[in-house]
Symmetry: D2
């Protein structure tokens, strides 16, 4: 391994810059040249890349987003697109590819690696935490804190007016952000994709909270929940609970941004170094992760297909605390 | 003046607690008993109030919302409601009333004061900054910072994806939050209620920014703007500018919460003390404010009726910086 | 178990309030009466306690410090003090005690439990993360973020002036906060109690960084490091590296405060519930912790005596990234 | 005016980047070429400068510090240094100079402008707010918020332990940061350079607070105060008030960093534009400022020599609220 490329792909996540920085510095530490590829796989297809140096990644540790830019590449889903990508990969004399992204990006990496026998390693960068093979993905902790800080602010006004707020948080089909920001934000209830809560169950919980004169007046709705979005759920609740002044807030894309937390920076730093070390050790078609605080390499296919389960214990605890 | 009541009314704003604290401590400093009235005018009508002491307002300086709770009182708009309120006012032997809120609350205060010849003083507490008689209202600076921090976060992800974001901020019929968070957030354009920007003008600006490869990709929409809400404006732009990946975020109620900034705490502290001192000096039917850094007492009627103008200079500067 | 007492003891940590809240709500959920004891063991000795209800712990989830107050009790180290404490414990008809604190507090709990055969369970609440039996202590994540945010700010000014800053962080005899805030803050070097770095090694690293024109210009010093405090280390470096403009900042007690992070709130919530459930299951003289994301009960004696080791991997990574 | 240079000089302040950005964009808006000069006057002396474009100042609005770097130039205090600077100024065909900094930097600008008849305009960038000719300097609002946030955190732990903290804040010979962070942080007392408080007065205040069981347990010491630094004052208080557990924290350089607040960004944006417009209008040897929300040009000599007075009203209010 003498020369590698690194790209960020799919939805951006806080800490992607820290991961790129770690890949760059670890590469240089081990005497490997490293190229930054812009706009995800599109940059590989269009040959938009340049060599990165120690100084190229100065002052990016603390910044949200990704200075390599990111995209969901339609072209890379086609055989022609990947052929073009491989052409540039060869022409640039790259020996391996580091892909920082989520499951969509890893699916592409897996296919590319199989088609052209190219060493590829994935680093889990997504706020959704929906990848098996790692306890936490880069960006998840920051997103949980961003969402919870917003919930803290909304609680201020909710408490001042005895209002009930339905707050929609991100997470696609996974409830990780929802569960953590609900417990962290002291929500009275949460609706997540993984559980089949009915409107009736929700209303029962809200009635009980009201009976206890509970100050908490926030319900967290995960974006992928089966009951519909936050507006839908709020409307259904309103039909039956007319004594609440109900409001809805969809937190939206602010959850993707912001300076990464210490935990995300440390995680990104560890995974970035471990990705380079993995490539040096001959790893390929794997995702590097941290399980029980140990660096782990999981076959990409497995990381994508396995559904990561929500912690039941946290769900139980949220219920106990919502009395 | 031996005994006064203080209440918070209307939409809550960060710094209301700091204002109550200042009213309480200044009262005690001057040997005046002070009663906290809960849930705005409703608390006066329902006699929900209690004496406040130095310790009652410990540890509230840094908290968002209002521990006295707030509401928009329908009952107080009726003659019967105000009669009931006056009954309790008399029964509690209150000599004056301090009302912390916005123009709706002040209208009520003004009528009440005229009907029953009760000394009333208003403290401007609203994030919208839409009250004449003061350069800044309590909560405005915090809201500008909360909105701008959210914009900073959204810019991270917007920049990573070359996306164009339409972000709707609060402010009712006034563009103060919009202008300040647009300049502070480096927006490429803003639409405020006070100006008659057309969709065509907006599109021209966006085209120019795109031509300059401008990194800024955020448009601020004030909630009261005439072109419609952020979704409406985004849809109209999308019809003509199909090369942008356009997203919308409505910041919503998180702008009302949060620990107040230093400026809002200092402002609330000054106004709270000045309200008590004003009552001692015989002021009534006035709103206390700060103009050019001096404490000023403005007749409530004037404060409500006068429309506070946006600073044209700031508008001009936003345009120059958006190139 | 029908009635329990809960106290916070020793140095305070962000998330202690969240832990008390969880203990209170879990107790009530399981039909157990719960008493809050003020100022740590002193409150037990002086019988300063009162029953806590669901409403008693409303709105404390987001607050730093501990509303039960904390202290290091000299009296509890004496046989007489503990006898007095037991007297009140009996008189109040308490069945068990939950102690939230660090190793000093747990030592007291252990002795008390042995002397009087009282069920006691410990919850690890300390920013230092220096307790075996749990991967993380409550307050550690918040302290790491607070320290790192301060480092981010100092880097702004350090970078603007080509200055070298020595920043001292807390952690007593453990380097956990130092390592995490050094990696997270992009420090060029760190000195921790667990490693025997010499001044010469530090100077070598700084020379190398300077040769690489490294932007990073921050050295993290753990308070318990053997080379002395930040001022000592800076002075020794200055003797040999006169081309740096060297400054020192001791972050100090601000690291103990602040609203807890999501992770600390979730951890505190889980441990608080698990403490009550442990008592119901007959656990005693144990500390509840989370190891590999599972709730674990460790004998208090073991938790105190075992020295928790720094992760060598993180140390290695810090070195690689500091090039 | 066809070509101008811009530099940042002296101690850095949050918002300097925003000011440079505004100078650059306003210049380009008006068809003026603009050069960024690195490391303050040293860059002029050593000819370290380069042309700045719209894209050069993308993404710097939100960053602390100054990307142009800053320094206190010894060489510029000498006739030879200034001669060298003028040589480069001429060789580069610059028509005017914009200096962002504090009084030291302005003194240099004033002399240079007089010696070589060069149009120079100053923009007040210093956290200390100690310049006449403007109500606020760039960086002051951010520093007040940074200091106050640190105080909020320290209060958490102070309140949990009934401790008394002496916190030293920056401001050189001026008490502006101290007064605002004391009122905003709810301090029981403050010692500022402008007032002759004795230790006895301070102790009297603390005794009164203790008698009132005041929760506030923070005293703010301005760095330039006549009673000595925070350690000195704490030691003197300790001699007479032995019932307090007294601690000291010196906030230090973190007050200089951090992402600027909305107010600082808006102020920097206005002043940056106004500086360019001032040069176009023939202004020279002036500092641009904002007085009563209006752009004002004050002769540099006057801005430096006039001592800006602390607002007595704020001092009075701090006293009333500290009961």
């Amino acid at each position: 391994i003498k020369k590698i490329g690194v790209l960020t792909s799919g939805g951006d996540a806080p800490g992607m810059n820290a991961a790129v920085r770690a890949v760059v510095r670890a590469s240089i530490y081990y005497g490997i040249e490293v190229y930054g590829i812009y706009r995800g796989y599109d940059g590989l297809i269009n040959d938009k890349m340049e060599e990165l140096h120690v100084r190229s990644v100065s002052n990016i540790l603390s910044r949200g987003g990704t200075f390599l830019l990111s995209a969901r590449s339609e072209a890379f889903r086609t055989k022609e697109g990947r052929a073009k990508a491989y052409e540039n990969f060869k022409a640039r004399e790259l020996d391996a590819l580091v892909v920082i992204g989520g499951d969509g990006s890893f699916t592409g990496a897996d296919i590319f690696s199989q088609e052209y026998d190219v060493p590829v390693i994935g680093i889990p960068g997504t706020i959704d935490n929906d990848l098996a093979g790692t306890d936490y993905t880069i960006g998840f902790d920051t997103a949980c804190n961003t969402a919870r800080e917003a919930i803290d602010k909304i609680r201020d006004t909710a408490s001042s007016h005895d209002r009930l707020f339905f707050i929609e948080v991100m997470g696609r089909d996974a409830g990780f952000i929802a569960v953590n920001s609900a417990i962290g934000g002291g929500a009275v209830a949460m609706i997540v994709p993984e559980h089949n809560w009915s409107i009736d169950q929700l209303i029962k919980r809200l009635r009980k909270g009201a009976a206890n004169q509970k100050a908490s007046n926030v319900v967290i709705i995960a974006e992928g929940c089966k009951l519909g979005n936050a507006y839908d759920v709020a409307a259904k609740v309103k039909e039956q609970l007319d004594y609440f002044d109900i409001r809805v807030t969809v937190l939206g894309h602010l959850q993707r941004g912001g300076s990464p937390t210490t935990m995300d920076r440390v995680l990104a730093s560890r995974l970035g170094v471990a990705a380079v070390e993995g490539l040096r050790d001959g790893q390929s078609k794997v995702m590097v992760g941290v399980i029980n605080n140990r660096i782990t390499y999981t076959p990409i296919g497995e990381a994508i297909k396995t559904v990561k389960r929500l912690d039941d214990d946290e769900f139980r605890i949220a219920k106990i605390l919502s009395i």
